[in-house]
Assembly symmetry: none
Homo-oligomer: 193 residues x 4
DNA sequence: GATGAATGAGGATTCATTCAT
DNA sequence: AATGAATGAATCCTCATTCAT
């Protein structure tokens, strides 16, 4: 069909721009990347950029959103495949998968960690496909009915993992990630028990 | 003496520039503030800026360092005055003081949170006057000899507090800071016990 | 017939583009209107514009020509209907009609006044349907055979009316148009007598 | 003196930019001249332009204002030197001087005629040094006390001269300027009598 | 004939940095 | 030491125009 062919081409351009932006943001950082750079690297006209994105921050958000969603999806699928019944084990499994992905892809860690704004962050956690937060909270309540505020627990886990793994993976602070993981997971188990 | 008078004048210029930078960074953010802006707001020649600072990032680090050190100092002095013997209570007291300062001064919270790079961060924790980290670790060991890695605990506490309070104070997420505090402090006590 | 239907459709597109250009030129001015704007406002593809017009200045001229011709035609028809025999009265009547139209439609006044180039101007005065200038000159000669150069008189009248009414209508300078008219008409009568 | 030397240098840059803008506007027109062009032609850094002018329209207005004022001043000085007592002769003398200047400098005519906005126009007529309009009106009243509205007469003369000479000088329409002058001056005399 | 995606030339503007005074 | 005029690289963004569908 004609229409789909045009749409397909558009999708390709858009994808090329996203990939280009990802590569450059990761390489040099957002501030040091110009729209010119992105278009050039994507082998696309400068004006084409503006057909798909408003500005640098727009494409940055979309890049992160896409990458982060992909990562979450994979982590959950992986946990599903392992058919772990116990909630706390399942949670650790998901977190472990994400941490391992970051270990293998430091650039992604850097990008997500540096640029995740609150708005984007919340959109990610409750997107149309998988409402991560609600699922977690429901499951946590079943698992441990003593917890007075599952919401608070959820956020503390997210923030604790997010902020500590960054320095552990990239700078071995306070410990190398492999050594740090036991302490982190131990802490998480304490939080939900 | 003449020399001291000159030194004094220089100090005044430097302080004016730091104050100006703080005001503008807080108001518009680092990216949207130019060196021209800083010099103008400080009522100082544009060239004068370069006599005291290398570039925008240099003055930014110095601004944050100064403000953060001041805050830590106050927090510790305050705890000292209260003569709390119990380690965990003392720790909570210090953290509470810092959180309360952030509640009263959201701009400072925003500035520190957004711009605290690892290098600066570590310099702050172990500056010449007060080695916060070492003091903490020594005291923690005395308090609970079962803890295998006090370093890891220290970092987890720092990161947990840093990342959760930001959203709690500014966006009431997951809860208003006053409601969130009990959960946070509870968590910290768990960590060191 | 098919052919006429196609022609009709083409005419509709062309008219839509002209109307769109008129609206936008009047609203924002020529410089601030892009071809994209015109096509979009006309609800027509961007490429379609180029099937009917060469560029912005082309459509601008056509817009003005159309609007101005319409105005002249109306003014003359109106004078004809009134069956005024006396030449000077008839002339004033025509001018008065045009001024009144401008009073009611300031946008048109602005558009014509700002963009009337000499070439366009002369084309208007001597278009295929009504040769305004020649008619005037012939009638003027009959009316007052003492006038040595009717051409010069014609131009002076045209220019005097054109330039003074603009500021009078839009800015009340030197007077409101209603107060200014007597002086202007008086002057015109002097010119042809 | 130091200060005056710096100020002098600044004045030179500003003048170079004005001269450059004049040359280019006259040559290619305002729309076809970029700020880059102006700076380059003035042999000045691109950024320097912005130290002295806001944008293209700003410098354009200043160019015209300067040139027009110069012209008026010259015309009046010239008339003063001739010591013509009779008001109508003096007026014609001034207008004649201006027209002759335009004949010798068509570029100036084009520039002023195309870009004289109302605001600028009024500022010119009543600048701090010579209030042309007020002087005219006072003198006209003395000359002919029968005139009911000298203001209206003044404007009509200005507009008539301005608009007819443009086409006469540049396009010989309706007549060459030398042939046209008698008709124009005759008309002006009629207006004030 | 109609469309609108793609392009890249071109223009406006900002700003870090230098340097003569 | 202090200044601020001068600079031009760098960047953003618009828009006329083309051309494949």
């Amino acid at each position: 069909m004609n229409i789909s062919k045009v749409e397909e081409k558009k999708q390709i351009k858009r994808d090329r721009l996203l990939a280009s932006a990802y590569a450059l943001f990761v390489q040099r950082g957002l501030n040091e990347t110009s729209i010119n750079d992105i278009a050039e690297y994507a082998d696309v006209g400068k004006g084409t950029f503006y057909l798909y994105f408003k500005d640098k921050w727009d494409i940055n958000n979309q890049v992160i959103a896409e990458k982060a969603r992909l990562l979450f999806d994979e982590a959950i699928i992986n946990a599903d495949e392992k058919r772990i019944d116990n909630f706390s084990d399942r949670l650790i499994c998901i977190i472990d998968y994400i941490i391992n992905s970051f270990i293998e892809n430091n650039d992604l860690l850097r990008l997500i960690n540096k640029n995740l704004s609150l708005g984007l962050y919340n959109r990610l956690l409750s997107n149309e496909y998988i409402n991560i937060k609600d699922t977690f909270i429901t499951e946590l309540k079943n698992y441990n009915s003593n917890i007075t505020n599952p919401d608070a627990v959820f956020y503390m886990i997210i923030e604790l993992v997010g902020s500590t793994t960054y320095n552990s993976i990239l700078n071995d602070i306070p410990l190398q990630i492999d050594e740090f993981k036991p302490y982190l997971f131990d802490q998480i188990r304490k939080m939900i028990n």
